[in-house]
Every structure is written in C-alpha cells, then in structure tokens.
C-alpha cells in the first residue's frame, strides 16, 4: 500500500487560514518555509534558512517569552529528526502555548527527495514521530491524515491550551518554491516590531 497524503500547500493554507495576530509562526528550513510563505507573508513569521534541527527549540524560547501568544513551530520530518532530542526538552517543560506540527512526507525534499527515517510508515517500516512525541510526554499528540483532522488541528492551534504535537501525513511533492525574505537580521527586526505593536 502506498501512502497518499495531504497536499502540502493546501494543508498549510488550511492551518493558517483563520490566523490571528497572536499566532507566531516558526517554519523550519526548506519546504515548510516555502509553504508558509506561499500561504501569505506575515511579519509574525520567523523563516529559517538554516539552523536545521532548531525550529522546535526556537519555538520553545519564544513560547516561554510570550506566554500570552501562541507559537506554531511547523517543520518537516528531516528537520524534526535532526532536533529529535528537543521533543524530550519540550515534553518536560510543557509550555501550554506551543504547537509543533511536522509535515511528514518521508523524504528530504530539498536535497533530491531521498527517503528519510520516517519513509514507508504506512507499511509499518518507518520511524513513528508521533510515537516519539508521545514517549517524550508531549500532552496532546495528533495524527492528521485527512481533511477533517486537518480542520480540527487548525481549530486547536487557534485555541491552544497545552503543548501539542501533530504529524501530518503529507504527499511527497515538490511544488515551486515561494521564497520569503532571507536576511536574518531583517526577519528578526520585523518580527520583534510586529509583536510589540
């Protein structure tokens, strides 16, 4: 049985469709950055062009510093795997305003679509990131494989009340890149100004 999976651009658009100003978004480097940019640029996005493995931890530092806002770290399976230990760090810290969402397509999309550790999960062969998050004591762990579950996740992120991890079953595809600003100092400054206003 081959995996079908959600189309990534449509999935990101659904997640961010009802976005309010108190949602801060940290997309991991690569495809999820382009997906977030394609959904509509926003000063409250802190796009990562590097720092692989760091998206969830940037989300943690931001969530602790901004307890009145909600933070979404949204990244790919490869980026999450590189920072897999951060799930343990976040699990025991348990910030109530942090959601970690992994677009899991089972591939390293930026480098030629090589299979990742999560590949062939539907056939029982790959690493189960949801199981890792659950074992790391993250309060809510959701498997999202269809439109109804995706809509449910979007709603939960808008009303976050506990650390959340979601794995999205994403189809392996390579849509045209939508490139956001890439000057890190500019991204930092505009993000800070936006959340201060």
């Amino acid at each position: 049985m081959s995996r079908t999976g959600l189309e990534r651009r449509a999935a990101m658009a659904t997640l961010l469709a009802e976005r309010k100003d108190d949602l801060l978004v940290v997309p991991g480097l690569g495809s999820t950055c382009w997906d977030v940019a394609a959904a509509g640029d926003n000063d409250r996005n802190f796009y990562l062009w590097g720092a692989m493995g760091g998206a969830a931890m940037i989300g943690l530092g931001l969530a602790l510093a901004q307890p009145e806002k909600r933070v979404l770290a949204v990244t790919g399976d490869g980026e999450m795997l590189m920072g897999i230990g951060s799930l343990a760090t976040i699990g025991i810290k348990a910030p109530p305003n942090l959601a970690i969402v992994v677009f899991d397509n089972g591939h390293y999309g930026e480098t030629g679509m090589q299979p990742s550790h999560t590949h062939d999960q539907t056939d029982g062969g790959g690493v189960d990131l949801l199981g890792v998050a659950h074992a790391c004591k993250i309060g809510t762990c959701l498997d999202v494989a269809d439109e109804a579950a995706l809509a449910g996740l979007a709603g939960r992120i808008q009303a976050l009340d506990g650390t959340l991890f979601a794995r999205l079953d994403i189809a392996a595809s390579d849509p045209p890149r939508v490139l956001p600003e890439r000057d890190g100092a500019v991204l930092k400054a505009r993000f800070r100004a936006a959340i201060a206003s």
């Binding site: 940037i58 530092g61 602790l64 920072g83 760090t89």
Partner: protein, 176 residues
C-alpha cells in the same frame, strides 16, 4: 585559632550578575562546575530553567527568547561547544544576542584524557564563530568578566563566551 573557611562564592556572584542583567531563560546541559548556579536558577521562580539534551538546543532557545523579548544564557561544559557550531549560524546570521558560560575541562589536573581534544580548541572555535571570549581563572575575576560579557551581548546584540577555567572550578574527584 582557625583560619577563616574559604568560601566558593563566585557562582552566587555570577547568578547575581545574571539577575541584574534580567536573564529570564537559562538553558543548560548539566556540568559539575555549573551545579551551584543551576541550583540557584532552578529555585528562581522568575527564571525558566530548561535542561537540554544537547547544547545546540540552547542556541536555538536563546534565539527564540530574544525574538520574544527575553534574555537568555546558555550554560555548558567545554565538550558542548563543538555541538553548537552549526546552530551558532542562527545567532550570526540574524545577529541574536547569545551569552554562553562554559566550564572548562581538559586543561588543568584533568584525569580524563578524552576531555582534552575539545577543551583545547574551545577558544579558537569560539573566536571563529565570532564570539568575544572572556576567561576567568581566579574567583574574584568572575563577576567583572561576566558583567563585561553581558554588556557585549545585550548592549550590541553580539555573541560572547565566558570561560570558567578548570583551575577555577577545581579538579573532578574520581574516587568516592
């Protein structure tokens, strides 16, 4: 008449310096040399103490804290410096303030020779990563150097590494 008992108070003075600097997040991979400081931070309700699985998590944590308007410090042992190198790109590319306090191993009365390869290259590695490096050897130097590091990091959004020499910390006791 007994001589006064020497007190090891530099960790308390370092903690006081971090408090004056309004540090609100402390990421750390535990080290015996940081034990007292970690205890003080864990007991402080105004500080988010975050135990890390690997040191580069702390570089990312500090970046997130800074985005959100809080100041952070990263505590680690010299062996953790190597783990941080690529993640330091985050601080360098975005010019995030990053304060690291590093306890040194492998340089003075070291029992474990495996500590030497990383310990011996901490200073050049940190300098290559654009960190200002401060080294404390004597207890009464710690507070002043910490204040200078704080000013460098948060006054101008830069990177600094405060190295606490093994001579300052004392050798690790291997027999119990």
């Amino acid at each position: 008449m007994n001589a006064p008992t020497p007190t090891v108070d530099w960790p308390d003075r370092l903690y006081a310096t971090l408090k004056r600097a309004d540090i609100r997040q402390v990421g750390y991979v535990p080290d015996a040399g940081h034990a007292r400081l970690i205890d003080l931070c864990r007991a402080d309700p105004d500080i988010h103490d975050v135990v890390l699985t690997t040191e580069e998590e702390g570089v990312a944590l500090a970046a997130g804290a800074s985005l959100g308007g809080q100041r952070a410090v990263l505590l680690m042992q010299s062996s953790g410096v190597g783990n941080c190198i690529n993640m330091l790109s985050l601080a360098r590319s975005c010019r995030f303030p990053l304060l690291m306090v590093i306890t040194m191993r492998g340089e003075w009365e070291e029992f474990n020779p495996w500590q030497a390869p990383m310990g011996s290259i901490v200073e050049p590695v940190m300098k290559l990563c654009e960190a200002e490096v401060y080294r404390a050897v004597k207890p009464d130097e710690v507070e002043g150097l910490a204040e200078r590091a704080v000013q460098h990091v948060f006054g101008d959004e830069r990177i600094a590494a405060l190295l606490l020499s093994q001579q300052l910390i004392g050798k690790k006791v291997w027999t119990k």
